[in-house]
C-alpha cells in the first residue's frame, strides 16, 4: 500500500492520541482521555458518529452475570455497569434501570439460571435473585404462562446507544478533542523503534497523514483489516454477526415492561423481547455469521427465526403492530472475549477488537482500561483542572410540559413547527442538532438524535421537510442531502429538468 502512503503523505497535524472509529466505544474513550492534557484526534470514515456496529444495538445495559468470571469482558461489564448510569447522568442521555430477566421455561433452564447467578455473584454483580414463575407472571403479564422462574438483575436496564455515542463525542469535543468525520484510516505510519518493536507514529487517511504518539484503533468490524496493515494476525477472525430486529409501534396491543432474555446459549444471549427507552418494543437480535461486513439486509429466514424465538417468551405476540425491521452487524469473533491490548510488536499502538455484547454496559470501564494502556505507552497523563463532565442535552420537546413547550416556542419560534408528527419532533430540535458540537448533517444523523422518522409513518411525513431544513441550514442543494453515507441521496434532480434521455417515447 505504498501508493497510498505516497498519495496521502502530507502531514496535516500532530496529536498526542489518535482514535480511529467514532462508535460508542471510541467516543467514550475520547471522552475519558479528554480529562487529561492531551491533544486528541477522533476520526471516522462516515459523515456521522455511531454508524457502524454502534448503530444496531439492542440498547441493553447488561448487569454482567452472563459473561464468564475470569474473562476480560466478564470483569469490565461489572465495573462498567457501575459507572454507566452516572455517565448517562453527566452526559444527559436517557436511561432506565428497569432490571433484566432471564426466563426459565424448563427445569433445565432453572439449572442454567443457577449457574448464571453463581457466575454473577462471583464477579460481584449486585442484587441477583431467582424469582418464581408466579412472580414473573405478576411482573410481566404477557410472559409465557409456563415460566418456571427467572433470574432478576436489578442493575440491568435500557439505554440509548446512539445518543450516548453522540453525547460522549460532543463532551470530548467540548473538552478539546478534535473530531474529523469522513476521514478513513488507510494505513499506518510505522517507524523502527527498537530491536523487537516498531513504532506506530500516526495514521494515513484520505485527508492526509496525521501523526500521534499513541494510536488507538476502535474500528469495530474493520479492526482486523487495519491490523493486517501492521501484520498483526489474531488467532481468530473478525466476522460480522448479523442481528435482525422487529420494531413495534408505541401504540400496540401488547407491551412488555422490562427486558426479557431467554436462557442463553454459548454463542448468543438469544432473542430478547424488550421495551426500549423510546417506548417501542423490539424483538431481537438473531445471530448469524456472515462474510460481507456491509450486509445489513434483513432476511426472511432471519425474521422468521426472530418471531419464533420471541414467541417462546411471549406466546401472544403478533406482528400486526410492526412498523420496521432492521439488521445490524456485531464485530464478533471466535474468541468471545474483548481484546483490548497494546500488541507486543508495536509501541504507541492500542487495539480494540471483538467488542460485542456487553460492549455498551462495559464502555466506561473499557475507557478506563484504555487510559491505563495509554499511560503504559509512555504518555504522561496530567488531569485538566477544567474538565467538564457535563454535556447539556438539547431540549426534547416531546418530554416537556405544556407550559415548558410554550415558553420554548416563545424563545425560539422554530420549536413551534412540528416536523415529525409521529414522534413529536420540532424544527427547532432539528436545527439545534444540525448546529450542535458534532453537527448532524444527514437524515439518519438527525434521526439518531431526535428519534424523528421512527414512528408509525416511518418518515413519510417528515422526509420532504427534513430535506428542506438540511438544505437550508447547511447551504447545500436539496439534491445533495443524503440519508447516511455518500451516495444515499434522496433526490435526483428538479422536475422540469429533463434528463439526457429526453421525454419522447
Amino acid at each position: 500500500m505504498d501508493e497510498i502512503k505516497e498519495k496521502y503523505k502530507e502531514v496535516k497535524g500532530k496529536y498526542d492520541v489518535i482514535i480511529i472509529g467514532a462508535g460508542l466505544v471510541g467516543s467514550i474513550i475520547a471522552r475519558w482521555l479528554s480529562k487529561y492534557n492531551l491533544n486528541i484526534l477522533l476520526i471516522d470514515k462516515e459523515p456521522d458518529v455511531s454508524t457502524g456496529t454502534s448503530k444496531a444495538n439492542t440498547a441493553i445495559i447488561h448487569a454482567g452475570y452472563d459473561s464468564p468470571f475470569g474473562t476480560l469482558r466478564g470483569k469490565l461489564v461489572v465495573d462498567g455497569n457501575r459507572m454507566f448510569y452516572q455517565m448517562c447522568e453527566e452526559l444527559e442521555v436517557p436511561y432506565k434501570m428497569c432490571g433484566t430477566y432471564v426466563v426459565a421455561l424448563t427445569d433445565e433452564d432453572i439449572k442454567t439460571l443457577e449457574k448464571l447467578m453463581e457466575n454473577g455473584r462471583k464477579k460481584g454483580v449486585p442484587g441477583l435473585e431467582i424469582i418464581s414463575g408466579e412472580e414473573m407472571r405478576h411482573r410481566e403479564p404477557y410472559i409465557n404462562p409456563d415460566v418456571k422462574g427467572a433470574l432478576y438483575a436489578p442493575t440491568g436496564g435500557i439505554g440509548d446507544p446512539f445518543m450516548l455515542t453522540v453525547a460522549a463525542a460532543e463532551n470530548a469535543v467540548m473538552n478539546g478533542t478534535k473530531i474529523l468525520l469522513e476521514t478513513k484510516a488507510l494505513d499506518f505510519v510505522v517507524e523502527p523503534f527498537s530491536l523487537h518493536k516498531k513504532k506506530v507514529s500516526g495514521v494515513v487517511t484520505n485527508r492526509g497523514t496525521f501523526l500521534a504518539d499513541v494510536t488507538i484503533a476502535s474500528a469495530g468490524l474493520y479492526c482486523d483489516e487495519l491490523m493486517e496493515k501492521l501484520g498483526i494476525k489474531y488467532d481468530f477472525y473478525v466476522r460480522a454477526r448479523k442481528g435482525e430486529y422487529y420494531v413495534f409501534d408505541k401504540a400496540k396491543k401488547l407491551q412488555v415492561k422490562t427486558v426479557l432474555f431467554p436462557c442463553p446459549t454459548p454463542v448468543t444471549k438469544g432473542i430478547l423481547v424488550t421495551t426500549t427507552i423510546h417506548d417501542n418494543m423490539i424483538l431481537g437480535p438473531t445471530a448469524k455469521e456472515i462474510k460481507d461486513k456491509e450486509d445489513t439486509s434483513v432476511t426472511p429466514m432471519g425474521l422468521e427465526e426472530l418471531y419464533e424465538g420471541a414467541k417462546r417468551l411471549v406466546p401472544k405476540l403478533e406482528l400486526t403492530d410492526v412498523i420496521r425491521t432492521f439488521a445490524g452487524l456485531r464485530a464478533g469473533g471466535f474468541l468471545h472475549d474483548f481484546i483490548i491490548e497494546a500488541p507486543p510488536k508495536y509501541w504507541g499502538f492500542i487495539n480494540l477488537a471483538g467488542i460485542e455484547s456487553p460492549g455498551m454496559a462495559s464502555s466506561a470501564a473499557i475507557a478506563e482500561y484504555v487510559v491505563n494502556l495509554v499511560q503504559e505507552q509512555g504518555l504522561e497523563l496530567r488531569k485538566k483542572n477544567n474538565w467538564n463532565p457535563i454535556r447539556k442535552s438539547r431540549p426534547d420537546f416531546s418530554k416537556l410540559s405544556l407550559e415548558e413547550q410554550g415558553r420554548l416556542i416563545e424563545k425560539n419560534p422554530l420549536y413551534g413547527r412540528i416536523v415529525c408528527r409521529c414522534e413529536i419532533v420540532t424544527e427547532g430540535e432539528i436545527v439545534a442538532e444540525i448546529h450542535a458540537p458534532i453537527p448532524a448533517r444527514t437524515y439518519d444523523a438527525i434521526k439518531r438524535r431526535t428519534w424523528l422518522g421512527t414512528g408509525r409513518c416511518q418518515g413519510s411525513f417528515d422526509t420532504p421537510r427534513v430535506i428542506e431544513i438540511l438544505s437550508r441550514e447547511l447551504g447545500i442543494l436539496p439534491t445533495d442531502v443524503i440519508k447516511e453515507s455518500k451516495g444515499s441521496n434522496f433526490l435526483t434532480r428538479l422536475t422540469k429538468e429533463v434528463p439526457e434521455r429526453g421525454l419522447n417515447d
Partner: protein, 125 residues
C-alpha cells in the same frame, strides 16, 4: 364493411365501465356495457382520435411554491401529450398567479388551452 371488436374501459368517470365496442375503420357501430351516454362518446373518440386530459406542473418565480399545477381545459390528442409537456417545461410564470390563468394558449395547435388549477400568491418574506 369489416367489423372489428375490441374491449375498452371507459375513463370518462371513476366507474370505469368495461365496454365491448364493434367498429369498422373509424366508425363505431355498436357499444355495450356502458352505464351512460359518456361511454359512447368515449368509445367514438377513442377509436378515431384518442384524447386525454393532461395535468402537470409549471415553474413559478417568487411564488409561495416553486410550482403551480396546471391542466388542459379539455382532452388533447394522445399523440401530442409529450410535445405539450415539453413546451410547458420551458415556461416560467411570475407570481402571483390566478386560478385558471392561461399558461399555454392553443397548446401545440390542439385548440385547447393549458390553465392553472389554483391560485398561487407571491412568497412573503
Amino acid at each position: 364493411m369489416v367489423k372489428e371488436k375490441t374491449k375498452l374501459i371507459c375513463i370518462a368517470c371513476p366507474v370505469g365501465c368495461e365496454m365491448n365496442v364493434t367498429y369498422d375503420g373509424k366508425t363505431v357501430l355498436e357499444v355495450d356495457g356502458n352505464k351512460c351516454k359518456k361511454g359512447i362518446n368515449y368509445a367514438e373518440t377513442e377509436i378515431v382520435d384518442p384524447k386525454r386530459i393532461i395535468v402537470t406542473t409549471v415553474r413559478v418565480v417568487k411564488g409561495l411554491h416553486r410550482l403551480v399545477p396546471v391542466r388542459s381545459t379539455e382532452a388533447i390528442p394522445k399523440n401530442k401529450i409529450f410535445k405539450v409537456l415539453d413546451k410547458l417545461c420551458e415556461i416560467e410564470l411570475d407570481a402571483p398567479v390566478k386560478i385558471h390563468q392561461v399558461v399555454l394558449q392553443d397548446a401545440v395547435e390542439t385548440g385547447i388551452n393549458i390553465v392553472t388549477s389554483r391560485l398561487l400568491t407571491a412568497k412573503s418574506e
